[in-house]
Symmetry: C2
């Protein structure tokens, strides 16, 4: 039995890891922006580097991922196998356990036999932990790129779909987030000069520009790349937002950019609120009336929950907020610690 | 007086040039995909290379551009100046004339004094030529990335706006095209399994994948980069389209991908048809009843014109089709040839 468990959430744009001490229950977490689709061959050495930084290179490994969707992989199956093999190559002597869409862990060889059973299961790790803390809630986890809308009823995750495709259809996954989402993937038009203006279908600005401009996040929170490779100041974010209507800071003033940013943020909130309504509709009359919000976009989650008529982080849900904050990497580590089949 | 005129249309993703013989009126055209935002410093040498290939390095130069919007430039002003300077550096001894939004040419030093007057004026070059051939029409030029909807009434271009921002608001510019447009910038959801599925807000597939899959274009027409760096076969395009709902070719069949592609293409047609209706509404009761379609996305233009109730390339408009096909680079060369102030 190892003293430490390293939990891993391998995404297509970010690598997240959490080191759990079995004795003390403490978690140390670490996040690295990593454009997997650009240099997949670097994953293995990055895993070693992060494990080393967390002091857990001899730990048991608990793994979940979404990276298999990155378009460097022809199919998701190949993506899952690639990630698993990167772990085998990085930690040949560690015990590695892969979290599955049926809510149980698999050995590496089991996971290799049915790769799609462990694809994009990170949301279920967080939600399963949450269901141990709160009996009834909509768990809203809004990250940099996506929003999870996961219902918990009677201390159980009652997701209607398990795959990302099913979840996109059911409203349990919405591809909108607080940082990386491209503005033209959120809105078709924005208010301008008292009327409405179409937007350019180019990646000129992202959600992080919107929320930085509006003061919802700080420059330090803007952890994704900027679309134009320039800086993260409010001035630079404003210039990117102006470009969304093919304008620039010479031709748009502060109020005009404000109106654009507020409209984009409001549309994101509407998108998530619509999904909440869809998810709750399916569960009536047993639908949760409260939300637990989490993620770097918790401010969007809270606004959407309010718009959909849910109470936010009140009562027992308040206690759950800390659990929610730690994310799938820590959740999967704790799930492995408590897993009956876990080596000890 | 030079025997040849080189017309240039410098875009953010493509460089187009046309060599016009003054004596014979013949045009030789050349197009080079060129990601200006990635390596702006290479523009000048590429200009020399293209001029050389067209045998026109001692020609007079007629210039129009949209490249100033590329996000390697902090403002459009700086973008225009950069492009003009690249011409001065590439062709220090040539006469260079820059086409303006007021429908006249400027010298390089005049253009440098008011850069925004020559920004994104390429649509006006094509439309001005067209107005010399057809008395009344909606000129629909659907390119790789954008669609121009320019009304011609009484042999005059009657655009309501001149800047891209004004044109996006008026419906005279729609940021949707036959190749480069990212699928999540076109649709929020697609039909799937008898229901509706949200799409991933990632650049997993582009319009070229849609139209290749549907047989609207060939692999040779797919001249933009593929989003995943893979090939342009129908199988590879289908895999990219499946990824739009976080699926792959293992989990979606041909019919399911067909339905996704048809929905995206239909939405593009609706977007352009809506813009046509907006433009025509402004011009009633003198609105044109016919359309002239052009560009690599002429098939989209024709479908949108039909949906908006316009007759397509019929009667005298038929004659205009050849003029339309040649694009802004050739148009600006012919405009310079016929320009009273042109050196001869």
């Amino acid at each position: 039995m190892t003293e430490k468990i390293l939990g891993w959430d391998v995404g297509g744009a970010n690598l997240k890891a959490a080191c759990l001490s079995r004795s003390f229950g403490e978690v140390t977490a670490l996040e690295r922006p990593f454009a997997l689709w650009r240099s997949p061959e670097e994953l293995s050495s990055l895993l070693c580097e992060v494990a080393d930084a967390l002091g857990g290179d001899d730990a048991d490994m608990a793994l979940t991922m979404t990276a298999e969707l990155a378009d460097c992989f022809p199919t998701r199956r190949e993506g899952v196998l690639f990630v698993i093999d990167a772990f085998r190559s990085a930690f040949p002597h560690a015990g590695t356990w892969v979290w599955g869409l049926d809510g149980r862990f698999r050995t590496v060889s089991e996971a290799r036999e049915a790769p799609l059973e462990v694809a994009s299961a990170n949301w279920l790790a967080s939600a399963t932990r949450m269901a141990g803390v709160v009996a009834s809630a909509v768990f809203l986890d809004v990250g940099s790129t996506t929003s999870d809308v996961v219902p918990i009823v009677d201390c159980r995750v009652v997701a209607s779909g398990r795959t990302d495709t099913q979840r996109l259809a059911s409203g349990e996954l919405v591809y909108t987030g607080a940082l990386r989402t491209s503005v033209p993937a959120i809105v078709r038009s924005v208010p301008l000069h008292g009327g409405v203006c179409r937007v350019a279908a180019e990646n000129f600005a992202v959600a992080a520009d919107v929320h930085l401009w509006l003061g919802h996040i700080t420059e330090a929170d803007y952890t994704c790349e900027t679309p134009d490779g320039r800086g993260r100041s409010r001035t630079e974010a404003g210039a990117r937002l102006a470009r969304v209507v093919c304008a620039d800071r010479e031709t748009l003033n502060e109020d005009e950019i404000d109106a654009i940013a507020r409209h984009v943020a409001g549309t994101q909130i509407d998108q998530i609120a619509d999904a909440i309504r869809q998810v709750r509709g399916r569960l009536e009359p047993r639908s949760p009336t409260a939300a637990v919000v989490a993620g770097s976009g918790a401010f969007l989650a809270a606004a959407a929950a309010g718009a959909a008529g849910l109470e936010v982080n009140g009562g027992p849900e308040h206690l759950a907020a800390e659990e929610a904050r730690i994310g799938p990497a820590a959740a999967v580590a704790r799930l492995l610690r408590d897993w009956p089949g876990c080596p000890r």
